[in-house]
Amino acid sequence: MPDSTRKTRVNKSLLSDRFEKPIEWLIKICGWSSLAALTAILIFILKGAGPMISKINWVEFFTSTKWVPSPGTGNEPHYGILAMLVGTLSTTALALLISVPLGLAAAVYISEFATGKVKEFLKVLLELLAAIPSIVWGFIGLMVLAPLIQNWFGVQQGRNLLNGGIVLGLMSVPLIVSLSEDALRAVPDAYREAALALGASKWEIVFRVLFPAARNGLLAAVMLGLGRAIGETMAALLATGHANQIPSAITDPVRTITATIAAEMGEAPKNSDHYHVLFILGLVLFVITGVVNVVADLVIKGTKKHV
């Protein structure tokens, strides 16, 4: 009997030894798969953009607001994305102006002030808010916000920069709240206790202890919120008015890069110049988010070094 138990034990350890290597490889592959996916996406977009990368007039592309991708016969097409670029950046900026203060404040309330059932209730509510499909948000912009904006500002078109900014801002709030709350909760309690014992008020603790301590996590939350606002398509299409112009007022309709791709991909004949240019728009989005992420990374590293 003792012999046989020893035998099974030996077998088991042999077995786990045999699996050690493959499991390590499996985990390694999972880790590298994100890079593989990213590369594949980049290749896909570049391939889609195809011949237009060399054919397109890049100066016109970035400096002109003239977007005539499928002109009538005999006319020259124009591919100028300046207005869309401004549209995307302005709606995103407005969205962040709304979502960052709102999201941070909500996260501070949930993490530091709310207790017990209120806290649990709010967290569930936020998860629900995050689960609302973007098309529904678009509807809200279209049917609820647009008439309100028309009335308040006395403008003809309620679907505009303001509408898009509000909708995209509200959409990013749940994401910013839940990530910021995680970051705040990760701040060791000893810091709060130390500050309290020095006579600091709760608000002082929030601004002078928690924000500096959780800075990286909070910045990451804002970056993901920014990513959501830049990349959002459906809601942007419905709420912004989709007018290809540089806005001169907050109540002017605008057009985003994402919405342009969504609206025109269906009608552009496959492998036409128009079709390829839409892929270049995708490439522009790809570069914007990439730059934002790298800058955020540098900011985090920079502040780490200085403080």
Binding site: E193, L196, A197, G199, A200, S201, R208, V209, V307
Partner: protein
């Protein structure tokens, strides 16, 4: 009990030779009673240590004196604690002002994750309007406070460095130093040396000893040898009650109560 403790206190509030009067103080966490009718008078300007086995209520007693134990809610008290002539359990007491006069050093050094400079001034900035002190005054305060805890020469060229990057011993010195700009009357210490190595313990004890006379220091420790060498009076607690409070030497040489004798001989706890 010593003779002075039984004599009638002078009528100057908070200046009767004692910094703290605890009268019939009981404390509950929910339904659990942690302290039973505690009566203590802590003499001004000396070092008083509190010893006793884990869970005897010594930390709870300490943390009641700046009311930091109330932060999780669910705390009920009866009796009174008089500090600077005022019952700190009264409703009109500002805990922020209380904590200015009653500083605290924790078991695990807990400098804030900001610069050394800002750590020293953190408390002061909470209690004075911005711009109240000139930049020069603040710099002087930082130098004074850090010199007092023996940290100035080590960190004077790196005041902008994050305080959490210091060694544990330096961190604990900083945690003591950052109380000084507030000019506290009382400093509470909750096992201030337990995270440190032997050499660090010796230096922190020397630092605490050097503060004798200017501050009333109340120190919880689980290390009886430390209580013996570093304190002037000693309080022995057991099961939420004060068993004995005498000059430290008396407590260790001639304990009055059998329970005290058993504890200091290491027969339990």
């Amino acid at each position: 009990m010593t003779a002075t403790q039984n004599s009638a206190p002078l009528q100057i509030p908070g200046r009767d030779g004692y910094s703290v009067h605890v009268n019939d103080f009981s404390l509950w966490y929910g339904n659990f009673q942690a302290l039973f009718n505690v009566n203590i008078n802590i003499k001004q300007g000396i070092i008083t240590s509190m010893i006793g086995p884990s869970g005897c209520g010594k930390s709870t007693m300490l943390r009641s004196l700046n009311r930091i134990n109330e932060r999780y809610g669910n705390v009920k008290t009866t009796g009174s604690i008089t500090i600077l002539g005022k019952n700190i359990l009264d409703e009109d007491v500002s805990v922020a002002t209380l904590r200015k006069s009653v500083g605290m050093v924790f078991q695990r050094p807990n400098p804030l994750p900001i610069s050394i400079f800002d750590n020293v001034l953190f408390g002061l900035k909470s209690h004075t309007p911005s711009g109240y002190h000139s930049k020069r005054e603040l710099e002087d305060l930082v130098e004074q406070s850090l010199s007092e805890v023996g940290l100035w020469s080590e960190v004077k060229d790196q005041l902008k460095r994050k305080a959490t990057e210091l060694t544990l011993e330096q961190q604990q010195k900083l945690c003591i130093g950052r109380l000084l700009p507030l000019k506290p009357e009382i400093i509470l210490m909750d096992e201030p040396c337990s995270a440190l190595d032997a050499a660090g313990i010796e230096r922190i004890e020397a630092l605490i000893g050097g503060m004798r006379g200017r501050f009333t220091i109340l120190m919880v420790t689980h290390n009886m040898a430390q209580a013996r060498r570093a304190s002037d009076e000693c309080i022995f607690m057991l099961m939420g009650e004060i068993i004995e409070h005498t000059p430290t030497l008396d407590l260790f040489m001639n304990p009055v109560h059998e329970k005290t004798a058993m504890y200091i001989e290491g027969r339990y706890g």
